[in-house]
């Protein structure tokens, strides 16, 4: 595309009163190397008249627009010109609202931003999507329990082909093993018949769903839209092609054999799963002598909420025990069910179920810390407890004890195995070999043929749950196109799992629809740009394949990286990682930002600091400070980046070699509760910054001139102060000695 430029300056919202526009024009034309006559100004550019001005130029052939007005976060509908490269320069928030009007500083800031905007437009290009051929829109659902069945049905009913793989011989999972279900609907009082069987029938009869039972996934290869899934069944294998995956492989009960302190192992101590089986068979009896159980004790949190076992709450056991107490009471009116709880957790409307169960004369409840189970006469047991409502230390006789065991996600075992492997790997090849030989390999779920491992990476301290870690975005995944649902993700009830599964199915659909159009998925779900490497210069250093948060880059036999583009989320981490600077997007590249940095005017006796700001949080925070008219330090120049992960170290030398005195990175919080939607952007940037120290030291530059600050979007009040602090520190160090060159 041959570019025809148009530069527009808005005088509204105080810009006209803050900056001498004539000077700005002159400067922009000179340094931006554009003819002065294409720079136009308007009183209110976003007004219909102002927009008319731009649109008329577009009619005349202008196709590259640089708009010096307000923040790109606002007036997005007005300044939307399809087909034209549009670069918005934030003169309002970053100059008019935050700098001293008509000061040299204000003028200088405006000059720099306008020039950078022009350079960005010059270096950029209009993106076109990359669409891979032969895409599949079919979905793979792994797991045929409550969540899996729901996901399959929802997707199939929305018109998508579904392949459902279930490890067991029958569909239904735990839901099919229940005697009754806890009430799901108003008035939340009556136990309900398990609904799972209707769903199984529906799934098995659905024309859009193909079911594989007694099957496991041997291998998942490829990328969203083009996933080749090898399904193994009775020794034979079949490969199906799907576009996206819903992982609903559920949970396992916590291993009760670890609960010896709660009496497991004694004949009359059973788990809630065994209780369900027994109730389903008809009678509630004691295993030791088959006598009908009349005094049944339920021990809540058997394993759950216990630092030595499961340090989380399994969410459904309270309601389950209340339900099972009902079984006991239904079978015999002189039977009692005693529930020993830490807290009764029946959130939301489930409280109404608790209320109704509580009202049964034979259901007795107390808060208690159960300390042990001991033998009582006649094969009975004593439940021993501390800190109960009934007294400090008590024991109660029971003829049957039910342990309300919790859940362990099916992802936990593979995760632990893989974590162990990584640990061993760190110790060297020998340790790794020993580990592989000595550790039994658990059942893997997806068996991804991905560079970064065969399963979805789980969060730190998530105990194996494949949770997203984001409150707002429950399906943010580190493996594009693969979405977890149900208890594999969080402990939840079956009803919740069904809802969750519908959500995961939707995300899978979005994924296949987006790859079909060459658009990224969340969080840049509008982006049609993609990383386009100049492979000729690749040295196969593999930093990109290691640092890509989404395992979107594979290596061929020779070790040369190549993209699985549909896994890519367009964060630019590869661009930041690459020491050869070969990765570029149409509207974002190492050269582009580098040139922008180099264009910044550096005065000999002036300090100049560059701030690279994450556009998701830091940039809006800076905008917000501006909206509150908090002054920004005039020595800084802010450049937004997709993610700090895209920060390439060459920018540091670009800046310092040009006399920049300091460089500040504003990124999201990292660590355990990281807030980066590209997982590790700011952490990686910080890591790279630590490496740059050596370079700076070599240049005899103080490494304190570079700093990363973690900032959240709501910290806009403090942000200008944080910047001031950094500027002060740099001023203390003194000017960049390269300035004079």
């Amino acid at each position: 595309m041959e570019k025809k430029y148009g530069v527009y300056l808005c005088k509204g919202c105080g810009i006209g009163e803050a900056v001498d526009l004539e000077k700005l024009k002159t400067r922009a034309a000179l340094k931006g190397k554009v003819p002065a006559d294409i720079i136009k100004e308007h009183q209110v550019l976003c007004s219909p008249e102002g927009l008319e001005l731009i649109k008329n130029d577009i009619k005349e052939g202008t196709n590259t627009l640089i708009i010096g007005a307000c923040s790109p976060r606002v007036k997005t509908d007005e300044f939307d010109f399809p087909g034209a490269i549009t670069e918005r320069v934030n003169l309002r928030e970053f100059v008019a609202w935050t700098a001293e009007p008509m000061s040299d500083d204000a003028q200088s800031i405006a000059n720099d931003y306008m020039v950078m905007g022009i350079i960005k437009a010059q270096k950029g290009d209009l993106p076109e999507p990359s669409i891979l051929p032969d895409l599949s829109t079919a979905l793979l659902v792994v797991g045929g329990g409550a969540a899996g069945l729901s996901a399959a049905l929802e997707a199939a009913n929305a018109g998508y082909q579904v392949v459902l793989v279930e490890k067991e011989a029958e569909l239904g999972g735990w839901g099919a093993k229940l005697y009754k279900e806890t009430p799901r609907s108003h008035p939340f009082e009556k136990l309900e018949e398990p609904k799972i069987f209707d769903k199984i029938k529906e799934v098995e009869a659905h024309q859009n769903i193909k079911v594989f039972k007694s099957s496991v996934i041997e291998k998942t290869d490829g990328q969203p839209g083009l996933l080749d899934v090898t399904i193994g069944k009775n020794g034979s294998s079949e490969t199906v092609k799907v576009g996206a995956v819903i992982m609903a492989t559920g949970w396992k009960p916590y291993d009760a054999s670890k609960l010896e302190h709660l009496g497991y192992g004694k004949p009359n101590v059973i788990t809630n799963v065994q209780m369900e089986e027994m109730a389903k068979k008809g009678k509630i009896t004691r295993p030791s002598d088959g006598k009908e159980a009349k005094k049944v004790a339920f021990i809540q949190c058997a394993g759950s909420r216990d630092a030595n076992h499961l340090p989380y709450c399994s969410s459904f056991c309270c309601a389950t025990s209340l339900k099972q107490a009902k079984y006991v009471r239904e079978k015999s009116d002189d039977a009692i069910a005693m529930i020993f709880y830490k807290d009764i957790r029946t959130p939301g409307q489930t409280e109404l179920f608790y209320k109704s169960m509580q009202n049964d004369p034979g259901v007795l409840l107390t808060k208690a810390e159960v300390t042990g189970i001991s033998d009582a006469p006649n094969g009975n047991l004593y439940v021993e407890a501390d800190n109960t409502l009934l007294g400090e230390k008590i024991k109660v006789e029971a003829d049957l004890v039910v342990l309300a065991t919790g859940i362990v996600p099916s992802t936990r075992a593979p995760q632990e195995y893989l974590d162990g492997l990584t640990e061993a790997g760190k110790k060297g090849d020998e340790a790794k070999k020993v580990y592989l030989e000595s550790t039994p390999k658990p059942e893997f779920i997806l068996n991804l043929a991905y560079k970064q491992g065969p399963e979805i990476p789980t969060l730190e301290n998530a105990y194996g749950f494949a949770d997203s870690g984001f409150i707002c975005f429950q399906y943010e995944t580190r493996r594009t196109g693969i979405y977890a649902a149900g208890c594999v993700k969080q402990p939840m009830t079956m009803a919740d799992a069904a809802e969750d599964a519908a959500g995961a199915a939707l995300k899978a659909i979005q994924c296949v629809e987006h790859v079909a159009k060459g658009i990224a998925v969340h969080p840049r779900a509008w982006d049609i740009t993609f990383p386009d490497p100049l492979m000729i210069k690749c040295t196969s250093c593999k930093r990109c394949t290691e640092e890509c948060p989404f395992s979107a880059i594979e290596e061929d036999e020779k070790g040369t990286p190549f993209y699985k583009l549909n896994r890519c989320r367009r964060c630019g981490t590869c661009m930041g990682a690459c020491p050869e600077r070969i990765v570029s997007f149409k509207d974002f590249s190492v050269d582009m930002v580098g040139t922008m940095i180099k264009s910044i005017e550096v005065d000999e006796d002036e300090f100049r600091i560059i701030v690279l700001a994450c556009e998701n949080d830091a940039y809006p925070a800076l905008d917000s400070a501006a909206i509150k008219r908090i002054k920004l330090n005039p020595k800084v120049r802010i450049i937004p980046v997709r993610c700090l992960g895209s920060m390439n170290l060459v920018w540091v030398s670009d800046g310092f070699s040009r006399g920049i005195d300091g460089m500040m990175l504003l990124g999201c919080k990292y660590g355990e509760n990281y807030q980066c939607h590209f997982i590790k952007g700011s952490e990686l940037a910080n890591y790279r910054f630590s490496k740059v120290k050596e370079t700076l030291d070599k240049l005899q530059l103080e490494s304190d001139r570079c700093q990363l600050v973690q900032v959240a979007i709501n910290e806009y009040d403090k942000l200008p102060e944080m910047i001031n602090d950094f500027v002060e520190r740099v001023e203390e160090i003194g000017p960049n000695p390269f300035k004079e060159f």
């Binding site: 005094k295 509580q358 004369p361 109660v396």
Partner: protein
């Protein structure tokens, strides 16, 4: 865990409390709102939350010698604020009933006041007994001429019949109270205290209706109970003076027609107090019914007996004044029957609270628990 207390749930006890008017018992989820809003509970080991739990678990031995259920005046503040509708006020009432049962003998009389089906017996037994005795005295008929009740039942007859009944009631009550006292001492492991001072303080509390004033939700209970209580006191004093006049001083009855003695006026004021008080009690129960419940059978039985005693007595007097013999004598007979019931069932009915509550309040002082 050698020192662990063995807890023995008793489903029958639970069902018993439920049947005795505590049907909301199981709704309690131990939030302790009741304990907080209660204006009469001590801070240390307060009630009624713990009693609710004991009752839910059927731990009947916990109620042996428990003064707290009796410290409750059933003002129903707890019930008003209970988030679960568990009505601790009613439940404690039901537990108190169970306690009365436990401490009072003979059991047959306990059953009569507790079982709705046996209700007629409450009136039939005294009615038959009185009828037989009056017939034996030859006065069981409608007498001609001016209505003079002593013709129907002579002063001596009344003394000979009613004094033993009253003494029986009091004796049974006092015996129960002593057993209860002993249990309280044992359960709470209190062996010494200033008994006389506690008794005096207790009597002061009762005389001043101190506890009633502390209620929030049904504060008007102070008035009604005050009226009934002092109504009975006045009636008792008037009766005693009557006995003094007739039997000791050998004077004419101070209650005879057309003779407005202060004693008679005093007695009448008492009667009016009883009637107004009991009507207030009843109307209060309806007024707060939605929130607090109308109360149990056991409550209503006593209220009804008192109401009938008061009204029939007053009516008999009016009928005597206007000399309508055919109605006056039957009404008088009804009055006698119900007074008889009141005395006979004194330690078995809800009226037994005078023994147990009195003892509990006293014990609370005696054991030093009341001190805040």
């Amino acid at each position: 865990m050698a020192d662990a207390t063995v807890v023995k749930p008793d489903l029958d006890f639970v069902k018993g409390v439920i049947a005795a008017g505590g049907e909301s018992l199981k709704k309690c989820y131990q939030c302790a709102t009741c304990t907080v809003v209660c204006n009469v509970t001590p801070d240390k080991n307060p009630f009624p939350r713990k009693e609710m739990l004991w009752a839910q678990w059927g731990l009947k031995e916990k109620f042996q010698g428990n003064p707290d259920v009796w410290l409750c005046h059933q003002c129903n503040d707890c019930t008003a604020y209970c988030p679960r509708g568990a009505k601790p006020g009613e439940v404690l009432g039901a537990i108190r009933k169970q306690t009365i049962k436990q401490y009072s003998a003979p059991g047959a009389l306990v059953d009569i006041v507790n079982k709705k089906a046996l209700m007629p017996l409450i009136f039939i037994i005294p009615a038959v007994l009185l009828a037989v005795l009056l017939s034996a005295a030859g006065t069981f008929k409608i007498h001609e001429g001016d209505v003079i009740f002593s013709k129907f039942a002579s002063t001596h007859f009344l003394q000979f019949v009613f004094t033993p009944v009253l003494l029986f009631g009091i004796a049974v009550g006092v015996m129960g109270m002593r057993k209860f006292w002993a249990d309280m001492k044992q359960t709470n492991k209190v062996y010494s205290g200033d008994l006389m001072a506690s008794v005096t303080a207790t009597l002061k509390d009762i005389a001043g209706h101190k506890k009633f004033k502390e209620c929030d939700v049904s504060a008007d209970r102070f008035t009604s109970h005050f009226l009934v209580f002092y109504g009975f006191v006045a009636a008792a004093i008037a009766t005693a003076i009557g006995v003094l006049y007739i039997d000791i001083l050998g004077l004419e009855s101070p209650f005879r027609i057309g003779y407005g003695t202060p004693v008679k006026i005093f007695g009448n004021i008492g009667a009016i107090g009883i009637i107004v008080g009991v009507i207030l009690m009843m109307s209060n129960r309806f007024k707060n019914a939605e929130k607090l419940g109308v109360g149990s059978y056991f409550d209503w039985l006593l209220l009804s007996i008192i109401a009938i005693v008061g009204i029939s007595g007053f009516l008999a007097q009016l009928l005597r004044m206007v000399s309508v013999a055919p109605i006056a004598y039957p009404v008088y007979f009804i009055h006698l029957v119900f007074v008889f019931s009141l005395f006979l069932y004194l330690p078995f009915s809800k009226l037994a609270h005078m023994f147990y509550r009195g003892a509990a309040i006293c014990f609370n002082k005696y054991s030093g628990r009341e001190v805040k």
